[in-house]
């Protein structure tokens, strides 16, 4: 593997993945609101329109049901659409197309028509956007068979997983975060310090023209011996921050980034728990029937005898996201909450 130290934003990693795959495969196109002439509402597509033209980088009207479903139909025909939701919050008006059609058509057609379509966009609270714009959809959607769901946390994972998503023959829900798009580039306090200096940057195409990260392989972002923290996406950075604080108290955490909830690499998690005997699960959706609940349940089923205490879950508070800046931060998972959960669950260690 080539090591690289280039400082690349999360959004640039996403763009690289799309550009490289689009040069490789003429069937791939990008469609969504403001992806072409505006260069993307969050500048993920950037100037891609200049290279690929309006046939392959397609601006849509504000019509999520229409263009998400169009992507499903085009994928059935044999194209490889990348459908961008400006925010996953907006996918809710396209629910019939993305969770009723996309993941079920292969099955309902007895294997005749696959839907190799990527739906991607920002997931999770952006920053004082209020309840309707702050959805985290991983818990809701990862319960649907037929789709795959990836939640990258670093530019390296973003590029490698998106390339895999584009090459995959099944519908993939790809959950980014607008709070991470500039990671490693700007010094904003909301951004993670764990990417400074190009850490976790992906290789360039010149360095590795076949760089991909397979689905269903969790990544140990920080090894440790005392407690396993399982998470994905933005909360990975909260977990790393918590682990740093806990290390000062002599608690050595292992941070596991599951990277894809479907397929889920439960083996890596269980192996870690067998070693540490303690487990904390964090995700940025509501606690009831969340991916954290599912992970906890699966760990109990497989490693009950190895646990020295109950598993602690860290989720959003069970309320709609508020507008108020401080209260929104209180409502979301953060490093403080994760550290607290680790201390509580490991108190008898």
């Amino acid at each position: 593997m080539v090591t690289t130290t280039r400082n690349i934003q999360f959004r640039e990693a996403l763009r690289e993945a799309m550009e490289e795959e689009m040069r490789r495969d003429e069937r791939i196109f990008v469609m969504g609101e403001e992806v072409a002439e505006y260069h993307g509402a969050y500048k993920v597509t950037g100037p891609m329109i200049d290279e690929f033209g309006p046939r392959r980088i397609v601006d849509t009207p504000i019509s999520e049901t229409g263009f998400a479903g169009l992507g499903v139909g085009a994928a059935m025909y044999g194209l490889r659409p990348i459908i961008e939701f400006m925010s996953w919050s907006f996918c809710l008006v396209a629910a019939d197309q993305i969770i009723n059609n996309a993941p079920k058509i292969l099955y309902m057609s007895g294997g005749q028509f696959g839907v190799p379509c990527v739906f991607r966009g920002n997931n999770g609270a952006g920053g004082q956007l209020g309840s309707t714009h702050s959805w985290s959809v991983e818990s809701m959607f990862s319960s649907v068979p037929g789709l795959k769901l990836a939640v990258p946390s670093t530019p390296r994972d973003a590029k490698g997983l998106l390339k895999t998503a584009i090459r995959d023959d099944d519908p993939v829900f790809f959950l980014e975060s607008e709070r991470m798009l500039g990671f490693g580039h700007r010094g904003d306090e909301d951004f993670s310090p764990y990417l400074a200096g190009g850490k976790w940057a992906p290789p360039t195409n010149e360095e590795d023209d076949d760089f991909t990260i397979p689905f269903g392989q969790a990544d140990i972002k920080k090894p440790g011996a005392d407690c396993t923290i399982v998470t994905a996406g933005r909360p990975v950075h909260f977990a790393l921050e918590a682990a740093e604080a806990l290390a000062q108290d002599g608690i050595d955490c292992e941070v596991i980034d599951v990277r894809t909830y479907r397929p889920l690499d439960i083996d890596t998690i269980v192996d870690s728990v067998r070693k540490t005997n303690y487990c904390v699960v964090a995700d940025q959706s509501w606690p009831f029937a969340s991916v954290a609940s599912e992970l906890a349940s699966q760990v109990y089923e497989r490693a009950f005898d190895d646990l020295d205490n109950t598993i602690a879950r860290v989720n959003n508070d069970d309320v709609p996201p508020p507008y108020n800046r401080s209260r929104e931060q209180d409502m979301l998972p953060n490093a403080r909450k994760i550290a607290e959960a680790v201390r509580q669950t490991t108190y008898n260690a």
């Binding site: 849509t60 229409g66 085009a74 994928a75 025909y77 309902m108 007895g110 023959d169 099944d170």
Partner: protein, 371 residues
């Protein structure tokens, strides 16, 4: 629809470019749907078929007339009343019946059922059971055809109930702004379940307004008349084939007209009628027996039979013979379905993913179905 066409219909019987043999073939296709559906109803009553089951009887000229105007490699997608369009597009009646019986020899191995018939070799992109949900897929087929620079067209069938779903309107808009080679085929049987179109759809007596709102071409035809339906689709398919996207010219703004553009997408209002209930469980309290009886006097199959006999293009004997064949094929389909093996438990876990993981398996091709 042009005024000229309306006038010519009033005076002369419509002409057709189909020869006697082709007309007889189309008559047979309609008879097959009729007889097939009779066996479907019978099998449903015998509880061989479960779930929701929507019968196509009365609308045969719509499926056969529209698909007769297509090339075999043109695509179609439809709603849940899909038996007729699946058969007209070429699905083997045995695979259609076996699917409804939940057998592994069905087109979807028993995973789809009556409302979800799919046939890839015949470019039939499925029956879709959420009202209006197939409209964006139809736009997607048109988009893909245009993207690949092919000269095919896609037909997207919908019932009058779908006119009031957002998905329909969003799809019409996308088809218009990108000038997609797709035809939205309204199978207007006047009832959305039990709700008359005038009770649920604004401008029900002037549906051209729906097309004009999007600057899309509009046509209408009598869906109880095969000859007229075929002629309408022949014309409009030609007017749709080769539609080009004005926005591929970067920075160009599309030019919309109230009467739409040619070649470009089209909205066709096909006036038809279903003789049977919305589904098998419908007691039909919302309409009178007289209303149904009146339409039955105007039956699409009988009209084509009269057309052929009156012009000396076929003998009654030939027609009886075709009907006998249709009955035989339908009962063969039931026999095939009856004798086929049930969907096995192993199939429960296949075809969930094209690239499976964990407990999911890779599906095998259904017997004698996929290419």
């Amino acid at each position: 629809m042009t005024t000229a066409a309306t006038e010519s219909k009033a005076s002369d019987p419509p002409a057709t470019d189909l020869g006697p043999d082709q007309l007889l073939q189309k008559l047979y296709d309609m008879m097959l749907i009729r007889r097939f559906e009779e066996r479907t109803m019978q099998s449903y009553m015998q509880q061989k078929i479960g779930g929701f089951c929507h019968i196509y009887i009365g609308q045969e000229a719509v499926a056969v007339g529209s698909i007769a105007a297509l090339r075999p490699d043109d695509s179609i997608v439809g709603a849940y009343r899909d038996h007729g369009i699946a058969l007209a597009k070429g699905m083997d009646p045995r695979h259609a019946m076996a699917e409804m019986f939940g057998k592994v020899t069905g087109c979807s191995k028993g995973k789809g059922g009556s409302m979800h018939l799919f046939d890839k070799p015949n470019h039939m992109y499925g029956g879709h059971a959420i009202v209006g949900g197939q409209c964006p897929l139809g736009a997607g087929l048109g988009f893909a055809i245009q993207y690949e620079k092919k000269d095919n067209v896609a037909l997207c069938y919908l019932g009058d109930g779908a006119l009031n779903q957002g998905a329909f309107h969003e799809s019409m808009n996308l088809a218009a702004i990108w000038n997609l080679p797709v035809i939205f085929v309204l199978e207007n049987n006047m009832y959305s379940m039990g709700t008359h179109i005038a009770r649920g759809t604004s401008m029900a007596d002037d549906l051209q307004a729906k097309a004009q709102a999007y600057g899309m071409r509009y046509a209408e035809c009598d869906g109880l008349d095969f000859i007229e339906t075929y002629a309408c689709f022949k014309r409009e398919v030609a007017n749709t084939r080769g539609a080009e996207n004005p926005q591929w010219d970067r920075g160009a703004l599309p030019d919309y007209r109230k009467d739409g553009r040619t070649p470009g997408p089209c909205f066709i209002n096909v006036r038809t009628y279903r003789y049977k209930g919305h589904s098998m469980s419908d007691p039909q309290k919302y309409r009178s027996k007289d209303e149904v009886g009146e339409v039955e006097q105007n039956d699409c199959i009988q009209r084509l039979v009269r057309y052929l006999i009156d012009r000396g293009l076929a003998t009654q004997e030939q027609i009886d013979d075709l009907d006998k064949q249709a009955k035989q094929t339908s009962s063969d389909a039931v026999k095939f379905a009856n004798e086929s093996p049930d969907m096995p438990i192993e199939e429960l876990y296949t075809d969930v993913y094209a690239q499976p993981f964990g407990p999911f398996g890779k599906g095998e091709a259904a017997e004698g179905f996929r290419d």
